[in-house]
């Protein structure tokens, strides 16, 4: 009796857990910007086929070679957005994948001519 009860409970929880996790993310979402041409699947960034939350920033840094490498790419700009007084910000603070990006610097520096690609 004991074993069956525990098995039943475990299965019940599994169903619950699966339900909670699976319900939110199944809808089709578009990839915007440069990532659209990379033939990426949900799991490539979200590490799951049914994501419910934003991908971890570590995933961005993995593909893009780390923060310092990204800072190198933009160092010729008038002000390097990847080496600023705001520090090493979370990529997703500016670069959005499923909607248009925002540029944090412009909140104060309206005279910067930045465009997120």
């Amino acid at each position: 009796m004991g074993r069956k009860l525990i098995l039943g409970l475990a299965l019940g929880l599994a169903v619950l857990a699966g339900g909670v996790l699976g319900s939110a993310g199944a809808a089709e979402v578009q990839i915007k910007g440069k990532h659209a041409k990379e033939a990426l699947a949900c799991a490539d960034c979200h590490k799951t086929d049914k994501p419910v939350a934003a991908a971890a920033v570590e995933v961005c840094l993995d593909c893009h070679g780390g923060y310092d490498k990204v800072a190198e790419l933009t160092k010729a700009m008038h002000a390097n957005p990847h080496d600023s007084h705001l520090g090493k910000m979370q990529c997703l603070k500016c670069h959005r994948v499923h909607r248009s990006s925002e540029i944090a610097c412009l909140e104060c520096h309206s005279d910067f001519d930045f465009k997120d690609k």
């Binding site: 098995l7 007084h85 520090g87 104060c108 005279d111």
Partner: protein
Amino acid sequence: MRKIRGMVLTLVALFAFAAPALAEKEMSADVVVVGAGTSGLAAAVQALQGGAKVIVLEKQAAVGGTGNFCEGLFAAESKLQKRIGIDVSKDFAFKLIMNYSHWKANGALAKAFVDKSAETIDWLDNLGVKIEYVGVGGFGGPLTWHVIAPGPDYPAKNPRDFHCQRMINVFNQYVKDHGGTILLETPGTGLITEKGKVVGVTAKDKSGATLRINAKAVVIATGGFANNKEMMKKYVAYPDVIPVGNIGKDGDGIRMAEAVGADLEGMSTVEAYRPGLPGFHPADQMIALAVQPYFWVTPRGERYTDESSIEFWPYAGNAITRVGGTAYSIYDDATRKLAVEKGIEMPLGEWVLQGTKLTKWEESFNKELARKRGNVFKADSIEDLAKQLGMDPKILKASVERMNQSAQIREDSQFNKKSKFLRPIATGPFYATKLLPRHLGTLGGVKISGKTEALNAHGEPIPGLYAVGTDSGGMYGDSYDLLLGGGTAGYAVNSGRIAAENALKYSGIAK
């Protein structure tokens, strides 16, 4: 048995996987500092020097807060002032602060700050933060502004190792080298209390997990609420005043303290800055010419102030908010030429020195003109300028004529401005730049004692809780003073130190 254990482990794993929000990490320290800006880091360094175990929480991805931008700090009777022969006594400074505030400020706090300020310069010196020179707050005022010299890494290894940023770099390194912990991207979310005493802080780390940090004392140092639109609307008469400084000053610390019964003080006062436009660098030359004290008018086209009062920013800030918060600075081509070829008359602090030739004015002005954002205008006649500005040309012309008369007889019959700043508006083209109120941060916050202890509505200290820098109120009346240069930066460092010293006494770590 193995099967059951396996089931149980699966259950546990499922729970853990399905409910990540339940994950809570626990830490402990003697002193937790919420906010790694100027006041927070000063408190952290002082606490470490006193032998405490310190954890600092910082919401942004970098330390420093607005300490990344200021230049120097206030002191009275410092060794440097004595050496140069600058006579600004502690008594003079204390009376100036209190009288300017009409005694709305906290006398015990102002005295504690002023009396400690000279020793703090020595303290900084011992830490490797050197002073380059002692200057003024408002142009021509008393010399109290101890401007911080570049560090050894400037400019080659670290082009940001000068002014207050140098001090932040030194503090940051000190905390790391002496066993302190700084958690970036980890905002404090609440205070933990036990029987009316503050015994810790809850926070949220990068991954979203909750942190529970047990502590003997907590120092709130999150920099005020300049970026919190809701709080600005609630407390400040002109809430749209443009914030100049770091981001993320959302009033976190003030609200955390309020939630455990702390009283608030001075919430309506902001650190008025020169009027200007949002988003321009403090050294922008288009702005530099626009804030020269010549001829400023309301949207109706009427002059409203002695423009040279901008040397004490709050005078200009109060005058412009009084007329609705928008003004236009208008000058002619002769004035433009003077500024570009001979140099400006009134300096903008360390950013654009007196006599600087505004060779970059043209690029900046034309770039903004092309953006057509309604910030700058250019016309060949006053009539045309008035039309562009939406003013009745008769009114603007009358104002211009009055100024031209004043310039000729060398007397300002409207606002008694010094004659040297009376310039005609006669040679086209004519330029107009919109001016809007700006500020460097809020100046009200938690009501504190002279020891920076947070007080409740009965004036009783809340055990274990301290508030410093612009998270605390009590240094000002209804307006920022600027009279003693480096006042807010100096208060940040000194209040941080005072909090740490008292927190250590309170928690028994120091005598």
